[in-house]
Amino acid sequence: MNTSTGIVAVVVTAAVTVLIGAYGLRAARTTSDFYVASRTVTPWWNASAIGGEYLSAASFLGVAGLVLAYGTDMLWFPVGYTAGYLMLLVLVAAPLRRSGAYTLPDFAEARLESMAARRAASILVVTIGWLYLLPQFQAAGLTLRTVTGAPQWAGPAVVAAVVLVSVLGGGMRSITFVQAFQYWLKLTALALPVVFVLLAWQSDGRPEVAPPEEPVFAEATTVEVTIDVTVDVPMGVVVEADGVVDDAAVSGELPLDRGDHDVEAGTVLEFPAGARIPHASNLEPMTGQAWALPLTAGGDHPLYATYSLIIALFFGTMGLPHVLVRFYTNPDGRAARRTTLAVLGLLGLFYVLPGVYGALGRLYTPELLLTGRTDAVVLVLPGRLVDGVLGETLSALVTAGAFAAFLSTSSGLTVSVAGVLSQDLLRGRVRNPVAGFRLGAALALLVPIGLALSSPFLGIADVVGLAFAVAASSFCPLLLLGIWWRRLTWPGAVAGLLAGGGTSTVAVAFTILGGPPDGWVGALLAQPAAWTMPLAFVVMIVVSLGTQQHTAPGVNRTMVRLHTPENLDLNRGDWDPEDRWRT
């Protein structure tokens, strides 16, 4: 695709996002009509906003990339990303709204009446926020590199700069309508090209997506390698090469033996038709048959890995800081439930699409298996299948959508993390609240950028899955037990948060920084949720039972508040200034 179109798409998205945040709504919400001014956000708008904030780079790019490389097993990602809201709907949404809490630390404090619980929750919010931001930046680097050829560090830098500017300018601070717009932009950006892509596939005679054998280049294919890569050539082949292969400059015919070969960035390889596709060394080659069957990917223990992933995604959504703050916008618990239901619908609609990209990508952009950048399939596919101006436009649209995905998710996360940092962890060190928030925002961005630039590139959706695992092992037990079990005490909650959050964070750090070892240990570290979440539950319950003297004094009142619909007229216990001295 044309470089300039890509740059234009990125710049326009960034500029529109910042400008709408800064000015658009100021104009839209200024009125002299009280009826207009005091209209609350409807569940539909709010659901769109949650969708806009939630659909990150992992959803937009990562899922398709994983499906392309590993096949049907990876469909658990979109399923899990959506089904998490079912758990939220049934168990958490309304009581959480009724608690009056804005952030997760607020909830911990409201329910457990303890500053220690609040602080533990704050630390975990920051951890999860950083983990979630990391893949956003990596994806930004990938996108910018794919569409404009910019160096790898440019993407994170651009996204971070735009986010920082708009967050500090007060622009994108959780404005519902901006985020709602982002959802529809992302949906359009995926849905419109997919129509044309499917039409192209149809007119191509609907070839089988994954023939049962090893994947081959269907026709003579030229591959430009943009980042240094080691490829595993499955069968000797003679290619036309121009560039540096195995540390030797080549120009012209080059026989590649079976085995590993280093290809430097900038090298162009031309494969003959029918050649088996060499895979980048970080991918496992899969036959079409294995690709189309479940429980074939996922390392040595696919069954465990799949179930652990399901647990992480189903129970992790309720612990995502940037999603939960949105529920505060709902006027009451009932609206919170309706919003969640609408989110389920909207996400279900969206997540049909990435799988289609992944599957067709296996057919039409197989060279991504060679370069290892399978996450780029969404960006590359429309331009590959549709020619001319239309193809250019569709590519620009997809690029804009991807960029919107990074911007909305990372700004939402940055605001959440910065809020928690400035309110709970920097308070006392920085006097001025505005300066505190700015410092918090800078810190919230710096750490994941540092990680994004220094850690090896894992699959985007994989790292996001790890953030979910930490959330599922810490906040899920806190919320579920906090809402549904009277006897949860603050020492129990803190112990559980530390046990579950701590072990899963350590496992995740191992996986991200070093890559997991082989065997069962590797499987347990790469997908920790299946053991860290039960661990957190057990620790919370056992320690709570042992520390019943620390039950929150107002637990009955809190429980009544959490579980009674607002329209029920009953005494929820008015605020009484003397309570502070009475307890």
């Binding site: 709504l25 919400r29 200024t30 009125t31 002299s32 009509d33 009280f34 207009v36 001014a37 005091s38 209209r39 609350t40 956000v41 009056g100 804005y102 952030t103 404090e109 409201a110 007060g170 601070r173 959780s174 404005i175 519902t176 060394s281 970080n282 991918l283 990917a297 390392g299 890995a305 992933l309 505060y328 916008t329 006027p331 605001v415 910065a418 309110q423 609240p433 220094s454 850690s455 090896p456 590139f457 894992l458 699959g459 994989d462 899955g465 996986t511 920084l513 070093g514 890559g515 790469a526 997908q527 929820r572 008015d574 605020w575 009484d576 200034p577 003397e578 502070r580 001295w581 009475r582």
Partner: protein, 401 residues
């Protein structure tokens, strides 16, 4: 599921090195600081005593009922006696140290004289009876706890040997310290009661001028536009019902805006086109819980001072913005403004009586959310007035009802 390359060692080594260096630096500073700051043995003893005192203070500040349990431990540490008891002579008896199960029932009897007159007494084994030979509770020093000349409780230190004069002195000093803290606790309670009383007072304080003017304005429409008059009367009824409601100290910003709408509708009936209002409210902050009737007095002030001494139209802007964990609310008029010093005295609460509303709102905001959350007034003579406040989205115990 990670399919990444196995171990990129430089990164791991780098991260590990950073962590090790950071830890070493923290430990080193701790070590150096502790060596430098801690002085001789006497100094260290002083610090320890001060520290123990500081631990006991906040517990006592919660009052004898709430804090006695936790404070007793620290007080016993100060006196270094085997056992110590605190009582208010009625329901509360706290025992810390040895022999509690046997002697806790006698505490009130031991404290009787201290409770009746605030005296300090030394009780011997005849008063502190004990059958067990190994029990360290043989003697006791009892002394009263007083706030403002009233005895509110007693402190009893138990010893195994006859207490020395020094110990008696120490017990008296500790009792004096406890009395001081309890006095402060009482003061806190009074202040909270006062704040509550003021909230209640404000409710009854919907300005009589406003009621008079509103009824006057409605009356003027009765003949010319009876339908409009009827509407206004209903608005008036709704407004007063909201303002006089008795339950709940907090309401949502949306409710508060609805009340202001009614108020302004009634004011517009009087001023007509002379009064215009612009609103910019972020829908995200509508569910925020605010103290009941915290905006209405500010709008009333804005109307009064925005239109005071002029015939040209006055304009009021009401903003509510979303700022992360807080909502920013401001009310802005383009009227005559005031001298910044006058604004300062207004906030201090000793200005002219007709603007008591502002000081009251300020006080209530501070009482509920803390001193960081008072009203901010930006004004100058002839430059209009802007009153703004920050309201945290969540604060324990604050729920709109």
């Amino acid at each position: 599921m990670a399919y990444g390359p196995s171990m990129s060692s430089p990164v791991v080594v780098f991260v590990a090195a950073v962590i090790v260096v950071a830890l070493a630096a923290v430990l080193l500073t701790r070590l150096v600081r502790s060596r430098l700051v801690l002085g001789s043995t006497e100094d260290q003893t002083t610090y320890r005593i001060l520290h123990t005192t500081s631990l006991a203070s906040p517990e006592l500040r919660a009052g004898l009922v709430a804090g006695a349990d936790k404070a007793a431990r620290h007080l016993r540490e100060l006196l270094a006696t085997p056992a110590l008891a605190l009582t208010d002579g009625e329901s509360v008896v706290t025992w810390d140290g040895a022999g509690g199960s046997v002697h806790v029932h006698d505490v009130r009897r031991h404290a009787a004289r201290a409770l009746s007159g605030g005296y300090t007494d030394v009780l011997g084994p005849d008063a502190v009876e004990c059958d067990r030979l190994d029990c360290p509770v043989r003697h006791a020093v009892t002394t009263g706890l007083t706030t403002e000349d009233r005895v509110v409780g007693a402190l009893i230190a138990y010893t195994s040997t006859r207490p020395s004069a020094g110990l008696v002195r120490a017990v008296e000093e500790v009792a004096r310290f406890v009395s001081g803290q309890l006095e402060l606790a009482e003061f806190d309670r009074e202040r909270a009661k006062l704040a509550e009383a003021e909230i209640r007072a404000l409710r009854a304080q919907i300005s009589p001028h406003f009621i008079y003017n509103a009824l006057g304005a409605i009356a003027s429409y009765v003949r010319t536009d009876p339908e409009h008059a009827r509407e206004l009367l209903l608005e008036f009824a709704d407004f007063t019902r909201y303002s006089f409601r008795r339950h709940g100290d907090f309401t949502t910003l949306a409710e508060e805006l609805r009340s202001i709408e009614r108020y302004l509708m009634l004011e517009k009936a009087r001023f007509g086109d002379r009064l215009s209002v612009t609103l910019r409210v972020a829908p995200e902050v509508l569910p925020v819980a605010v103290p009941f009737l915290c905006l209405q007095p500010l709008v009333e002030n804005a109307v009064r001072h925005g239109l005071e001494g002029r015939t040209s139209p006055g304009h009021i802007t009401i903003l509510a913005e979303d700022a992360g964990n807080e909502a920013l609310i401001s009310i802005d008029d383009d009227g005559v403004g005031m001298d910044p010093d006058l604004a300062r005295t207004l906030l201090a609460g000793d200005g002219a009586t007709d603007r008591v509303g502002i000081a009251n709102v300020d006080e209530r905001l501070r009482a509920v959310f803390g001193d960081d959350y008072g009203l901010v007034i930006e004004t100058a003579t002839g430059a209009g007035t802007k009153v703004s406040m920050r309201v945290p989205k969540y604060r324990p115990g604050v729920h709109a009802t």
